[in-house]
Symmetry: none
Subunit: 537 residues, 2 copies
Amino acid sequence: MTKERLTLYDTTLRDGQQTQGVQFSTPEKHRIVEALDALGIDYIEGGWPGANPTDSAFFEEVGHTRAKIAAFGMTKRAGRSAENDDVLAAVMNAGTPAVCLVGKTHDFHVTAALGISLDENVENIRASIAHIVAQGREALFDAEHFFDGYKANPEYALTCLKAAHDAGARWVVLCDTNGGALPTEVGEITAAVIAAGLPGDRIGIHTHNDTEMAVAATLAAVDAGARQIQGTLNGLGERCGNANLTSLIPTLLLKEPYASRFETGVTPEALEGMTRISRMLDEVLNRVPFKQSAYVGSSAFAHKAGLHASAILKDPSTYEHVEPASVGNRRVIPMSNQAGQSNLRRRLAEAGLEVPDKDPALARILDRIKAREADGYSYDTAQASFELLARDELGQLPDFFEVKRYRVTVERRKNKYNKMISLSEAVVVVKVDGEKKLSVSESMDDLGNDRGPVNALAKALAKDLGSYQEIIDDMRLVDFKVRITQGGTEAVTRVIIDSEDGSGRRWSTVGVSANIIDASFEALLDAVRWKLIRDRA
Amino acid sequence: MTKERLTLYDTTLRDGQQTQGVQFSTPEKHRIVEALDALGIDYIEGGWPGANPTDSAFFEEVGHTRAKIAAFGMTKRAGRSAENDDVLAAVMNAGTPAVCLVGKTHDFHVTAALGISLDENVENIRASIAHIVAQGREALFDAEHFFDGYKANPEYALTCLKAAHDAGARWVVLCDTNGGALPTEVGEITAAVIAAGLPGDRIGIHTHNDTEMAVAATLAAVDAGARQIQGTLNGLGERCGNANLTSLIPTLLLKEPYASRFETGVTPEALEGMTRISRMLDEVLNRVPFKQSAYVGSSAFAHKAGLHASAILKDPSTYEHVEPASVGNRRVIPMSNQAGQSNLRRRLAEAGLEVPDKDPALARILDRIKAREADGYSYDTAQASFELLARDELGQLPDFFEVKRYRVTVERRKNKYNKMISLSEAVVVVKVDGEKKLSVSESMDDLGNDRGPVNALAKALAKDLGSYQEIIDDMRLVDFKVRITQGGTEAVTRVIIDSEDGSGRRWSTVGVSANIIDASFEALLDAVRWKLIRDRA
């Protein structure tokens, strides 16, 4: 049986950026584009060129992608031609293969928000889409408030859609802008649109999660015949977010009736990267990943109930609707030390530590990780710190040096030109090769800018490590993440540091303390120790 | 038109406790029961008596409620009578008016997990339910894996349901235990159960969120005729969680076709407590509330896009599907680089600053916000810092005091017992009321624990502010968020601080610098200034 093609349109960089607190930098946008492109998304909407400087910069620098890059904008305003609308011109100037314009389809919005006649609005849609097509680009029309509009005045809402369609829009996208349409309504109205003569393979669906049903509403539209899905990674988006592609894509590929009926640009192999992509986005946003996310959450395949856990050991299908590995996730059985140990051995092997099955050190390592996690540590990403902890239990951690004490001072005051300046100074005292060494560094970089106390500490620590000095000379701190978390009963600071060396190798370490400087120093020490283990000899 | 009654059954205390990391204490359970009872929930499932000590203690101490309290357990095991099953006896001994027993209805689970015959399982269901009824209690039957069971062997799954029904169960509850059934399937199978002779007003629905569609699947069952809804507050529960009552209840009361067709025990007045109850649960769990939650999230009515914000000012229904106040939530118009002047005026008005339309200060404020956002600042959440910036442009920011300089020292060394300890000390010099004041504080709290350099700085800054001292005495730092972001071409640290005072008022401020201590100090200063503006006079 031939499968029908479903088209996936990602708007993480545009509607996703409407999430409160989210503002992507241009490099972050490029990193997300790379992940979406590797996943197999068909269209990537990059932003609204001209609306803000970051969006404009993004389009200037975007490289070659398999996916079509789309620029977002709005239909031309009344009283001028499409050619003479400067807002539309800025969108066209981004030079993207696809251009998606939002326009009104709800009569109330046309008269109340735009203050123009219903006919003028239809003409704005028609002329704008025709303009895009005339420039040789692919046009998409986002029908704003379509479901509310259809309920209020179906004839007018359809007239708007047809104007876009007849002017050459490749897709008309039915948007539930306020997020209030329930799945049943979305299904019925989508079916009515198709019955009115618009073909399903020209219709897209764009929903919001204001009733926690954006995913279901999207599938209801697909069931009714829509063939393009718009959504965002991790359900980012205005208010309660957009339809979550991170949930939708696994359902489309793994669940019936969708798996047999449709195909998308996402292969089963690419789907195995879903969990990683979801976590990457949270890392970019410095968010704690939501554990209970469908498919990709760290609890999505966690079996806490005793009855469930024991049945899972007999047959995973008893309490799992899909294979965790199919989306790159893992099963978690908190009760089972057995499962814990095999997991652990795999991770040790990744660090080059082969430990025999049933070695008593395995249980000791697990206990210590549990205790440290209760204190606020996290070893999910800090693989280098995990390795050091394991080496310590296995008796394979050399005493390279000992830190006797350190002191950091941060001072802010007026300089002689009466300007406020900051300066940090760090003193680190280590004992190495039997010798005590005092090092002092300040936080000023070569350009005379203050880089802060952690930078000063890192420089002082790495300034003189005797015979080890040469090994760590090419190390540098490339990223630094801080989170307030719960350790025991008190709030503590967790710092994760990413380091890099001359060979381009990157590694992550973790430190935890109520004191942010202490937590940073602990992570720095681990970073140096890991590098010494890898490169001495 | 007479409305049909829908029954609400809450399992936050039982299935909700299967959430990874969740373990309620007995007093916490009582606090949640009180909230659920005030909300108007019909049944509150308190736990599994006998399965763990907290659950048993809860039932001993639960007081009078309008809601029926239910104890959870499982059908009797094979090879003994209901009267002689000690697990079932422990459940009955809790003495609750309602008892809900889970039992198998999927033939594969009966033979593979229980290892008994299909007939034995049916008899276990019948005898267990009959036993509850004979004791004068109300019986409910949770049909585990019902949808998978029905797909595999509809005849057997229905036989199990009928055994419970005929033995006197008030409700048979169709459970999608693995969370893999899609809403369409749930609707079709529920309709088939009713067509097979089980009346809808004896049928409940219990779904899980493994495809992010638990809410939609629940409503699909209601559409098909089921009249009891099981769910949890905030969607707590095993793996990805249960159907979220915090989303379902507002939809049932506020949205069509449900609002006209059904009534529940929740009044419109009680619904206004929904947001508060949701936040209370997060507080009990010490979780940061999820901002994008439907209806109750702090972003649920946040309008970031400039076009949306300006339309909202004309008529809130343009971008809101329900009134925020109907669920006890509120509208937020955050500031961001996409916001226009109308958005800005609205936000200024919220801060008590009435600025005339077209005032040239508006453009200056927007420009300054844009420039600061390019430097790494973010004003989406830091409303208090936004207000200070605007007041500065409007000439309405008093010079309360001037910080001349500060110095913080963080030291880590061995104490006299040869144990490594950390201590921070901060000196802040301010000029206030024409007088120079030096204050020094250290980071040790009352218990002798080091709370770090930011804490020491906050204490030193607030130690002596002359005539303003009294106003800020009840301030405290309640949260502290740090992220590394891009400011211009360099990585900088953005710190957001949440402060609280004796009246329970909370406000957020932001600071940005390459130096984390500087960034924190800037946010601290804003916090103090904002409090002074609000409370002096």
